[in-house]
């Protein structure tokens, strides 16, 4: 089947979902009112509450939610064949992610622009606040560990991407200085920075000494590196330590110095990346060479598919962006449909092209089976296949493959690094908040909280043993990241259901996706914890066992809370 056809079918379904389903939800369920005074007008302060044009807000919302996760999840999930991943991405986006992102936005607008965390506190009480903080804590811990591993893995696999990625740091600091201190418009400096990065990428792809290949420097894969570890393990260890030092510094700097300017460059990269891939797809017109479904899979797609692809099908993180920033800037209530629902569709489009890039890369089914021979192998190699597959698509625009590989890996690393920076920062805030909650003032200190965040993330990513030794097992954390993300989405959907119940509306549109993701999370964690990670399992692992068990207990807690809240009268605590 042609890759273009798959893309067209996906985009048509997204368009129909937006045109009909989101309209149905907006008119019949949420009953959006164009005359409702949104928080942006009611509390207008020129800082957080600012009425913003819906297209501008959509652009900002989309660039905030799209990152490395909707690329990585689908790239792994192609393991079960491209069709299951494709179906979950399009149906998940239309019926789950769209409603979730749109719903959290509307719920927040109807409640003074408050975030889902605050609303959970108001509806369910203090224990919900703590539950919420712990789930976000687990989520950001996973994000830190997973993305630190992803970046290290890409640095080892594509050494030409190291220099351009590190050049982004001084360039971002320069943009921050130019924009905030010299008052220069940001478009030009950030485009210059991007051009410099890609120019360096071209050079480093062609000049050997510009490639920082730690494994080769230590004598190749079979050699011994530092502390008696193998060369690959040593390379992982070194990169992870460097990254942890970097995020420590980056997350304690003011946002305008590094994080925001990096985001400007990343916005360009998102546009460039999506453009290259979709236009490249048209020019190359590749066939889907991966199997439609994989009959030889060693792990069942049910339930793992639904947690492997979280971002791109439904992701709780979006609710934080919807209710945290976008809801305070919405001009009219009816704009919520475009910003929230079409924002989720934007991410679905990114996930879709990730599936196509991976599924069109192989020359034969045997070639596919060689890489995707087991779920563990899919987890470890999925992203690499995406990078190579995307480079082939970029080849359609005349970009040489080696340069394209470097550029695609730079894009993925940049997304992952910014996510890492943000989530370490977020983790620091949560640790400080828990410190205040439990009267441990030491935890509220910036450097104490950051040290705990960085050290626990480093421990989590370094401890699992992988096939390439110490530090290479970080990919095993991916299913845990998916489940933590789904838990957060389930809480948000539950809050929307409570609000709809209060208004006497049909809340099936939110409760069905909520039950679906919760059942899949419970099922997956039950299976993984008991049959794989426990002492009786196939791959005993105490760390994953403990984390998986915590997520399992939290999921049960959320379901019980949901039922008691929906049956009780907590909805009286809402504003509208």
């Amino acid at each position: 089947m042609s890759g273009i056809l798959v893309a067209v079918i996906g985009i048509v379904v997204f368009a129909l979902g937006y045109r009909y389903y989101s309209k149905f939800v907006a008119e019949k369920i949420f009953r959006l009112d164009p005359n409702y005074v949104t928080p942006a007008h009611q509390y207008k302060d020129g800082v957080d509450f600012v009425p913003t044009n819906k297209f501008v807000l959509w652009g900002h919302h989309f660039t905030s939610v799209a990152g490395a996760a909707p690329i990585l999840g689908p790239a792994i999930a192609v393991y079960w064949g491209w069709l299951p991943a494709f179906l979950w991405v399009i149906l998940g986006t239309v019926f789950a992610a769209g409603v979730h992102d749109f719903g959290t936005l509307v719920l927040s607008i109807r409640n003074k622009g408050q975030s889902v965390g605050t609303l959970a506190h108001r509806l369910i009480g203090q224990r919900a606040k703590i539950l919420f903080l712990f789930i976000i804590l687990i989520l950001v811990l996973m994000v830190n560990a997973v993305f630190a591993w992803v970046i290290s893995n890409l640095f080892i696999s594509y050494p030409a991407s190291v220099v351009p990625v590190f050049i982004q740091i001084p360039l971002a600091i320069w943009i921050g200085y130019a924009v905030y201190k010299r008052n220069i418009k940001m478009l030009l400096p950030s485009v210059i920075a991007l051009a410099v990065m890609y120019l360096v990428a071209v050079l480093s792809s062609n000049i050997g000494w510009m490639q920082i290949d730690l494994v080769q420097w230590m004598g190749g894969e079979g050699s011994t590196g530092i502390f008696g570890l193998g060369a690959v393990s040593s390379a992982f260890f070194i990169w992870i330590i460097i990254l942890m030092v970097y995020v420590y510094i980056a997350s304690t700097l003011p946002v305008w110095k590094l994080l925001q300017p990096r985001d400007f460059i990343n916005s360009h990269q998102l546009v460039v990346g999506l453009g290259i891939l979709y236009v490249g797809l048209i020019f190359t017109n590749p066939e889907m060479t991966a199997p439609v479904t994989n009959a030889n899979a060693d792990t069942s797609w049910l339930p793992l598919l639904f947690i492997t692809i979280a971002c791109g099908a439904i992701s709780g993180f979006h609710g934080l962006v919807s209710s945290g920033t976008s809801s305070k800037q919405l001009d009219k209530e009816t704009d919520a449909r475009f910003v929230g629902y079409a924002g989720a569709v934007g991410e679905g489009i990114l996930a879709l092209v990730s599936i196509i890039a991976v599924a069109t890369f192989f020359t034969s089914t045997a070639d596919f089976s060689a890489v995707y021979h087991s779920f563990a192998s899919a987890n470890a190699s999925g992203l690499g296949v995406f990078v190579e597959g995307a480079a082939v698509l970029a080849g359609g625009l005349g970009i040489p493959t080696d340069v394209a590989v470097t550029i695609v890996s730079i894009i993925v690393v940049s997304f992952a690094a910014t996510t890492l920076d943000t989530s370490v920062r977020l983790m620091r805030y949560i640790i400080a908040e828990l410190g205040t909650e439990y009267k441990l003032p030491a935890l509220t200190k910036t450097h104490v909280a950051t040290s705990i965040a960085v050290l626990s993330s480093a421990a989590l990513v370094l401890l699992p043993e992988g096939p390439k030794g110490f530090g290479s097992g970080g990919y095993q954390l991916w299913p845990l990241f998916g489940t933590a993300n789904q838990l957060l989405a389930a809480i948000s959907l539950m809050l929307i259901a409570v609000w709809l119940k209060r208004l006497g509306r049909n809340y099936a549109v939110v409760i069905i996706p909520m039950i679906f993701v919760m059942v899949m999370t419970l099922y997956a964690m039950f299976q993984q914890v008991l049959f794989e990670w426990s002492w009786n399992g196939t791959e005993p692992n105490t760390l994953l066992f403990v984390l998986g068990s915590i997520i399992f207990v939290f999921a049960i807690w959320i379901i019980i809370t949901a039922f008691s809240v929906l049956r009780g009268s907590a909805d009286q605590n809402l504003d509208n």
Binding site: D45, G46, V47, D48, V50, T52, N53, F55, V56, L57, G59, H60, T63, V179, Y180, K185, M186, L187, S190, V255, W256, Q260, D263, F264, S267, V271, Q329
Partner: protein, 85 residues
């Protein structure tokens, strides 16, 4: 065509400027908050040699004062001299 490209660039610039504008506004508000605190410092026990003059600004500040004490995490006006809510 050229006009449309210009519009597109303008739109794109606006999208990426959104968080930047917010950051600057936040920084300015932060400075304003400190300034306000200095003006009313006498009322919370910090001596202010130009108190009489700053007090003249009182009517201009009153509207902003309510938002300020809410931002500072105080539900009600902390100063008995200013009864805003």
């Amino acid at each position: 065509m050229l006009e449309q490209i210009k519009k597109l660039i303008q739109y794109y610039e606006e999208v990426i400027s959104l968080p930047h504008r917010q950051e600057i506004a936040r920084e300015l508000r932060h400075e304003d908050d400190i300034f306000l605190l200095l003006l009313y410092s006498e009322m919370i026990g910090i001596p202010n040699p130009v108190y009489y003059y700053t007090l003249e600004l009182y009517p201009y500040m009153l509207e902003k004062f309510h938002d300020w004490h809410l931002r500072m995490g105080m539900e009600k006006s902390p100063l008995s001299g200013i009864r805003c809510c």
